[in-house]
């Protein structure tokens, strides 16, 4: 009994700071923002309750709300689909026994270490239609490069490409997943005469599905919150083509001082992310394979 009490006390001492931090800096702001979403609040003055007006404003009066929803869905879905495909492909390459494998792995991970501001500024130059290296190379191949960040058609693909460039963390996770797949399964498949595509389809991919699930969920959450790149590179332009949900929220919160409305936007974003995460989890029984099940 005494030992239990003592353990409990020590547990409280060790966990307490974290719990306190969580309550103060996560739980309180989380629920406070729900209250603020029903108020007119500008940080300085006291919040005034206005019922559902912020939500009404969102759906019927904010002329860029639906634009930002469309842009964010485009970005999230494109990035998750293409990002996952590219990441698995690169992880598979990095899993092969090739010369200087460690160096290649390092190279793909380096973008993760580059601060977003720095990488965004670099990409502004890389993608510049008139002086950027991408269009220079395309021109050398006889192609006319698009106006990446200045085109309503190309700005979102440009940001997706940039996001995939920085997805070294997902590649490392996929790589770890690939290395967890038992070698004897590959050997057995080869003995049975399976080719590389068959091996990939029937062994690698199924056994990688838990990792894919993880990266898809994390990727969805990340991409729905996309903000920094478009804030730095395009400010949501041209013609609001890269105005993501997070950017619209930021603008209303910190430039337009409508914290109440921004809180309402944040809560809707939370619900959207929650909904899609649940949808993905609901579908896992159909496509995620756990070896120990």
């Amino acid at each position: 009994m005494n030992t239990n009490r003592s353990n409990l006390m020590w547990a409280g001492i060790f966990v307490g700071p974290w719990v306190l931090g969580f309550l103060l800096f996560t739980a309180y702001p989380f629920f406070a923002s729900l209250w603020y979403s029903f108020t007119n609040y500008n940080i300085v003055r006291d919040a005034e309750f206005i019922g559902l007006y912020n939500y009404e404003f969102m759906f019927f009066k904010d002329i860029v709300f639906w634009v930002s929803i469309g842009n964010t869905f485009y970005f999230a879905i494109t990035l998750v689909i293409f990002g996952t495909i590219v990441d698995i492909f690169l992880a598979a390459l990095l899993n092969r026994k090739i010369v200087a494998r460690a160096t290649y792995r390092l190279i793909y991970f380096i973008p993760v270490l580059v601060p977003t501001v720095a990488s965004s500024l670099i990409w502004i130059w890389v993608l510049n239609p008139q002086r950027g290296i991408v269009n220079y190379l395309l021109e050398a191949m006889g192609l006319v490069g698009p106006n990446w960040l200045g085109s309503t058609t190309w700005v979102k693909p440009a940001l997706v490409i940039m996001a995939i460039w920085g997805s070294g963390r997902a590649i490392i996770i996929f790589l770890a997943g690939l290395q967890e797949i038992p070698r004897h399964l590959y050997e057995a498949a080869r003995i049975d005469g399976a080719g590389p595509i068959t091996v990939f389809r029937h062994i690698t991919l199924p056994l990688l599905t838990p990792v894919i699930l993880f990266n898809v969920v994390v990727g969805l959450i990340f991409s729905f919150q996309a903000f920094a790149e478009s804030y730095i590179m395009t400010q949501g332009g041209p013609a609001n083509a890269s105005l993501f949900y997070g950017l619209n929220l930021y603008f209303h919160a910190f430039e337009n001082l409508r914290m109440g409305y921004a809180s309402a936007l944040a809560w809707l974003l939370f619900m959207i992310i929650m909904f899609f995460t649940l949808v993905v989890f609901r579908g896992t029984r159909r496509w995620v394979y756990y070896e120990n099940e």
Binding site: N40, N42, I43, V44, R45, E48, I50, Y53, F57, K61, D62, I63, V64, I124, N128, P129, Q130, R131, N147, L149, G150, S151, T152, G237, P238, A239, N240, F251, F254, E255, N256, L257, R258, Y261
Partner: protein, 495 residues
């Protein structure tokens, strides 16, 4: 110990005063800490300090730099050390003027703070350098937390939002009290108008950012194009641009003249007579005849040059990219160059390109009856609501905006909001565009009053411009969107 600290700080700040500072501090330490205000009055502080500081300012500006006098320096140092013994209240001042990164204006700003600190018996400014981009969010959170600074360098475009939110202090009581020394009528009408929110003064006007037309005459000559002297109409500017464009092989990279050449979309709205959009009382309507004419003018360029190319040009050079706002900028763009008067480019252009022949003038008239030479964005000082030393904030703000200090600072920066300071031989010599600002631009600027939804309006206007270029919206639909976005925001905030 205290004296030692003071000496070290001053050495860092003032540089050349270091040696004498140590001597002065040591002698004062020997005498004990008995220095009083009378000590300062005994020595002709202001005169000595100002003479010395003028020398410093002039040295930084490269003007008349040979007047350094070691004796004066010593006296100044002693007085400054004595002043530091006074029981003064600290004025926490926020600005982004870092001497290390702001060229001439950074140094001059520091000198003016030194002058204030040396001569003011009640307040001592402590300058907190904040990154420009963080000043507004930090200001709001500090006001909300009840711990704001005492004076903050700010801008017209944010003032309406801050005042509406209750983050600023109305300064009318100080203006009334100090009517003999700080007179609103000394200031230009536009900057003063932009500090008044709902009938009360919420800021001290410092200087005005306006746009003007700059022509690189050498480049034009090199291209075989003759630029008329001080042309009066926009059509003439466009004709020069068209010739430059043609001479350079009609490539969009070298456009000659671009309707997207200004970073602020409101500039063209001023030139095309768009000032009726807001009535100052909560009613906003962008669908005026003048705004339609403006948007159709943008559309005309899109039709001629392909809108996506214009947007490409804007994304390359639109915000000063690739050295556009340097004296060589027009060489990259082949433009009839343009920029805001407050740009350091204007302050330093003679240094960058001393031999370049150039022409400064107001943006020529569009032909609209409501033509304004430019939009106006006044730089201001605000005293945050809840400032602990609001009196000190006013003391600093009114000191900096006194004609003498204004002349000093703005000669290295933007155009002062005081007519007296603009119209001096010193300033005319130091700022070649000054005459243009004084006679041609400021008397006819667009004085949009501060309002909390200005940011929404400006953003919506920029988006509409893009949409017109890209053919995504008709002129009427784009203008209707601006109205809806801005009016909805005004209404929501008034809820």
């Amino acid at each position: 110990m205290k004296l030692g600290n003071v000496s070290r700080r001053k050495v860092v700040k003032g540089g050349l005063l270091g040696t004498f500072g140590v001597v002065g501090a040591a002698s004062l330490a020997g005498c004990g800490e008995t220095k009083t205000v009378e000590k300062i009055v005994e020595v002709p502080v202001e005169k000595i300090v100002e003479v010395e500081k003028i020398v410093e300012v002039e040295k930084q500006l490269g003007v008349n730099a040979a007047r350094t006098d070691a004796i004066v320096v010593e006296k100044v140092k002693k007085v400054e050390v004595a002043a530091s013994q006074l029981n003064r209240q600290t004025v926490e001042l926020w600005s982004g003027f870092d001497p290390k990164t702001h060229g001439k204006v950074g140094g001059v700003y520091g000198s003016i703070i030194d002058i204030f600190n040396a001569g003011n018996p009640s307040h001592e400014v402590k300058h907190v350098i904040q990154p420009w981009g963080q000043i507004n969010p930090k200001l709001l959170t500090s006001v909300a937390a009840g711990n704001p600074p005492d004076a903050v360098r700010n801008w017209y475009h944010a003032l309406g939002g801050h005042a509406e939110a209750g983050a600023t202090t109305a300064i009318d009581k100080w203006v009334k009290r100090d009517a003999k020394t700080w007179k609103p009528e000394d200031f230009l009408a536009g900057p003063v108008a932009q500090t008044i929110f709902q009938g009360k003064r919420h800021a001290v006007p410092l200087s005005g950012i306006v746009a003007l037309l700059y022509t690189n005459l050498d480049l034009a000559k090199e291209m075989g194009v003759t630029v008329p002297a001080n042309f009066k109409t926009l059509a003439e500017a466009e004709a020069v641009g068209a010739k430059l464009y043609k001479k350079s092989g009609s490539k969009i990279k070298t456009l000659g003249f671009s309707p997207s050449m200004f970073s602020a979309p409101t500039t063209w709205a001023a030139v095309w007579g768009g000032e009726d959009v807001y009535d100052g009382k909560g009613k906003f309507n962008a669908s005026t005849d003048d705004m339609k004419t403006l948007m159709n003018w943008h559309k005309g360029y899109a039709d001629t040059h392909k809108g996506s190319e214009l947007v490409a040009w804007k994304s390359t050079y639109g915000t000063g990219g690739f050295g556009r706002f340097t004296s060589d900028g027009p060489l990259y763009t082949n433009l009839v160059g343009m920029a805001g008067l407050s740009s350091w480019w204007f302050s330093d252009i003679d240094k960058q390109a001393p031999k370049q022949n150039k022409q400064w003038q107001a943006i020529p008239t569009s032909g609209s009856k409501k033509y304004r030479t430019s939009d106006l964005n006044t730089n201001v000082y605000i005293i945050p609501n809840g400032a602990k030393n609001a009196e000190g904030g006013w003391a600093w703000s009114s000191f900096l905006t006194s004609p003498k200090q204004m002349e000093r600072k703005t000669v290295a920066d933007s155009v002062p909001a005081i007519r007296k300071s603009l119209d001096t031989p010193f300033y005319h010599k130091a700022s070649p565009y000054n005459g243009v600002a004084l006679t041609d631009i400021f008397p006819n600027t667009w004085k949009l009053p501060p309002f909390g939804s200005y940011g929404v309006f400006r953003k919506a206007l920029g988006t509409a411009q893009d949409q017109i270029y890209l053919g995504e919206k008709t002129v009427d639909a784009a203008l209707a969107d601006i109205t809806k976005a801005t009016q909805s925001d005004i209404d929501a905030k008034a809820k």
